[in-house]
């Protein structure tokens, strides 16, 4: 008898024989779990967490009771709290029913490469929180002015701040001691020229803030010096909510179907941000209580869940959010452990699925300051598209699915060492050249095989190259007459291309690109293309003057490949730019500049959202956009490449 086993966050799943251990199941399904002892129950490394509940998306009921009882050996390695939280050792738990497991970061074999580097952008340094060093007159019998008033008047006199600034109550609790322990010298942090949120004894040079980008899959945090505005310290981890659902919709469903679902996901993300804050604070030698400001961007569903607001109505048409405007919330109200009185600035929502993350992209790229027509595509599990210039900006969102990130692809994987990220195929011989993450050069005979799968940028590359080499036709169908042993029928009778023979991989089997993979990419790229097409049409501009590809893996996409497959419309390739994680950059800009916060609010209100899925001819256009590069539209800028495609 077999049971369904699902591993998160990788999303690997399959039917596994009853009685096998979870570690064996992981191996069978290609999930890399740390087990230095090889499953001898002595190292305690293969910790996994069993998530209980009914998971609509997979149609399974996962229970801790679907595994063999806890063994004595496990009790040596797992704390009482872990045991209560359904943690098990993979080598000790045997399968008796369906289970959904979460593999914690430390138990994962291959560490993910999270690509959330920052891009330098010009801005005016004007953070919402500034610190001021004050020399106060000590209280005397002649001058019995209270401590708070003393600070208020010093701020007004020495720095020209408005008189009578407010103060957050918890700051008052320690005020007498703070003021006196610094010998009447204090450093005061003021939020938005309005409220005193922090007072410390003596002179403090630095002032720190944290910008956070909560992605559906990855959470990135940037610790920034608010005084210098210099390069940030960066740390990131996988969004721990992945265990409750890989995409936005399955997480919303989890919140709808489980009474404590929202709370669980909320706790997971708050803890994740707290751990990033702690890690970053440590790296610069401060405590988290010295982080004085925070800004956050996310998609609208992540936004609701992080703010503990029921995301239910975000999951269905008409996708109305609870609120759209930007918001300043006390960090303590959210359980975020930074300075006790600090605020969290939540960037505004544009519309429904177009969230603060897209606003972040907009304030980073500033299409609203330009005359030329810019097309902005933020590629993630959900694609967001903006088009326009200073006169008018339009936006839409489209369900691209996770194919472009490597999920739903037979040998797809996230960006980690061993992932094939660049591909070239010889149009004559159909022989490929591959490059994997972690290697400088193209793989060649004699190298140690490293390939274990294909990541997002590799998938875009390989599909475009297969098309250019004539392995697949414009309709996406395999050319069965291709004279190459690499083009073959798989065991299930479907066509596939062997990108890497078993001897050249680190997984002992052929890495192939299947007809199904091609189809999944066609759906995703057509969704993006049609979204852009509608926006350009409604904006009355036939072509974009420039294209910006944003998104964590956006910087690694080969733009020519993206255009050859028709993921983006025709444009001068020199004016197509990959900018990386622009949403995170936007969060950082909002942290460092109040005028950016104002711009964010303005642009979020000004952008006009277009719902493309309900356009009457959506179906027809979607179908036309599935062809490579398109069944009707021309691509003059890459015509020379298309002309070289071998004809049958």
């Amino acid at each position: 008898m077999e049971h369904t086993v699902i591993f998160q966050p990788s999303g690997r799943r399959g039917a596994v024989k009853e009685g096998l251990s979870l570690l064996e199941a992981a191996r069978e399904l290609g999930v890399d779990i740390e087990a230095p002892c090889g499953g001898a129950r002595v190292c305690g490394k293969c910790k996994v967490k069993i998530e209980e509940g009914f998971f609509e998306k997979f149609g399974i009921e996962s229970r801790a009771g679907h595994l063999s009882p806890v063994l004595e050996e496990e009790k040596d390695f797992l704390t009482a709290k872990e045991l209560a939280d359904n943690y098990r050792l993979g080598c000790c738990a045997y399968l008796q029913g369906d289970v959904l497991l979460f593999v914690p970061e430390e138990s994962r074999g291959a560490k993910q490469v999270i690509r959330k580097a920052v891009r330098e952008r010009p801005f005016e340094l004007d953070p919402a929180v500034r610190t001021y060093c004050l020399q106060l007159q000590p209280a005397t019998l002649q001058d019995q002015t209270d401590d708070y008033a003393r600070i208020q008047s010093a701020l007004a006199e020495q720095y020209g701040l408005p008189a009578g600034l407010a103060i957050d109550y918890p700051v008052l609790q320690n005020l007498p001691e703070t003021v006196r322990s610094g010998n009447w010298q204090v450093t005061v942090a003021v939020w938005n020229d309005r409220e005193i949120i922090w007072v410390a004894p003596g002179q403090n040079e630095d002032c720190w803030g944290l910008a956070v980008d909560v992605g559906t899959t990855t959470v990135a945090a940037y610790l920034c010096n608010l005084r210098s505005g210099g390069a940030p310290y960066i740390s990131s981890l996988m969004n721990p909510q992945v265990r409750y659902g890989e995409d936005v919709l399955s997480r919303i469903t989890y919140a709808m179907m489980n009474e404590d679902g929202l709370k669980k996901m909320n706790t997971a993300i708050i803890e994740a941000i707290n751990s990033l804050a702690a890690k970053l604070a440590e790296s610069v030698g401060i405590t988290t209580a010295e982080i004085l400001d925070m800004s956050i961007v996310f998609n609208t569903a992540m936004h609701h869940i992080l703010l503990n607001i029921d995301p239910k109505y975000m999951g269905r048409a008409p996708f109305a959010p609870a609120f759209k405007s930007s918001m300043d919330i006390k960090a303590r109200d959210l359980g975020l452990q930074i300075a006790g009185s600090a605020y969290v600035h939540v960037l505004p929502v544009e519309a429904g699925f177009v969230g603060p993350d897209n606003v972040g992209v907009l304030i980073a790229e500033e299409p609203y300051k330009q005359d030329s027509m810019m097309l902005l595509i933020d590629i993630g599990t959900n694609g967001e598209i903006d088009f326009g210039n200073r006169e008018q900006l339009l936006s839409t969102s489209c369900a691209t699915g996770p194919a472009l990130e490597g999920a739903q692809i037979k040998f797809g994987m996230r960006a980690a060492p061993g992932a094939i990220e660049t591909v070239r195929i010889d149009p004559q011989t159909k022989e490929p050249l591959i490059k994997t993450i972690g290697k400088e050069d193209w793989y060649k005979d004699g190298d140690e095989p490293a390939a274990i799968g294909i990541c997002g940028s590799g998938i875009i590359d390989v599909i475009a190259e297969m098309f250019k080499a004539g392995v697949i036709s414009s309709s996406g169908r395999f050319n069965q007459k291709t004279a190459s042993p690499r083009v073959r029928k798989s065991e299930d009778g479907k066509m596939e291309y062997v990108l890497c023979y078993a001897r050249d991989t680190a997984i002992g089997k052929d890495i192939t690109v299947t007809q199904g993979d091609v189809r999944a990419v066609q759906l995703a790229k057509a969704a993006l293309y049609v979204g852009a097409e509608y926006l350009m049409e409604k904006r009355g501009a036939p072509k974009p003057d420039s294209i910006v590809l944003a998104g964590a893996f956006g910087s690694y996409i080969n733009k020519e490949s993206a255009m050859v497959m028709g993921m983006i419309p025709d444009c001068d390739l020199d004016r197509v730019q990959a900018v990386g994680n622009a949403a995170g950059d936007g969060a950082r800009l909002a942290l460092l500049s109040r005028s950016k916060r104002r711009e964010a609010e303005q642009v979020a209100r000004a952008v006009e959202f277009v719902e493309t899925a309900i356009e009457p001819d959506f179906q027809t256009r979607f179908a036309a956009a599935m062809a490579f590069p398109h069944s009707r539209h021309s691509f003059p800028h890459i015509q020379h490449i298309l002309d070289k495609i071998p004809k049958e």
């Binding site: 919709l249 709808m256 309709s475 979607f622």
Partner: protein, 224 residues
Amino acid sequence: MSEDRAAELFARLKDGVINYDEEAVVAAAKEVLAEGIDAGKAVFEGLVAGMEEVGRLYEEQEYFVPELLMCADALYAGLDVLKPHMEKKDLGVTGVVVMGVVQGDVHDIGKNIVKMMFDVAGFTVYDLGRDVPLEKFVEEQLRTDSDLVCLSAMMTTTMVGMKDIIRKIKEKNPKCKIMIGGAPVSEEIAEKFGADGYAKDASNALKDAINMLATLRKLQQESA
């Protein structure tokens, strides 16, 4: 008029659908009528047989959504010519189906493909469209006394609404069969929600619908 001639025209209808050649289908359909060949037979042995092959090609991933939609256009073009001349035969199936995409969901390509198959089969289809309020399904089922209600959802968030619809319809009319479909739907979900059948995706829906049609066609051939 020979059997051979009929078979030749049916083959042309079938190939026309497979090759999504609207003009060829219409031309063959007109010849069928002009030569007095049974329109119903032409639909089933020509058009539907072609669509069965299309379904197989889709299943094998040779054809994809664009081809499917073009084949559908060819099929409808033929149907427009032939359907007015089909005799209504009682096959023991009243053939009334209510279908739609559930509230909160606007993705309807899958539903449109399934609808097409029911159209072809000669079912009377009440297509409620997309973003259909839950009560509307119950009302329409009662109003039309349909044998079958088909619910579609593309998103897990809207799929969960199906459960209530199924319960309410079954309360009012326990005999009515309910089929659910869409990307997030699974056999377990169908069972949990109390549906009578499910179609995993457009491909499966098509196959299921084709299976129904094939059975129907067999019945018709036997009765002929």
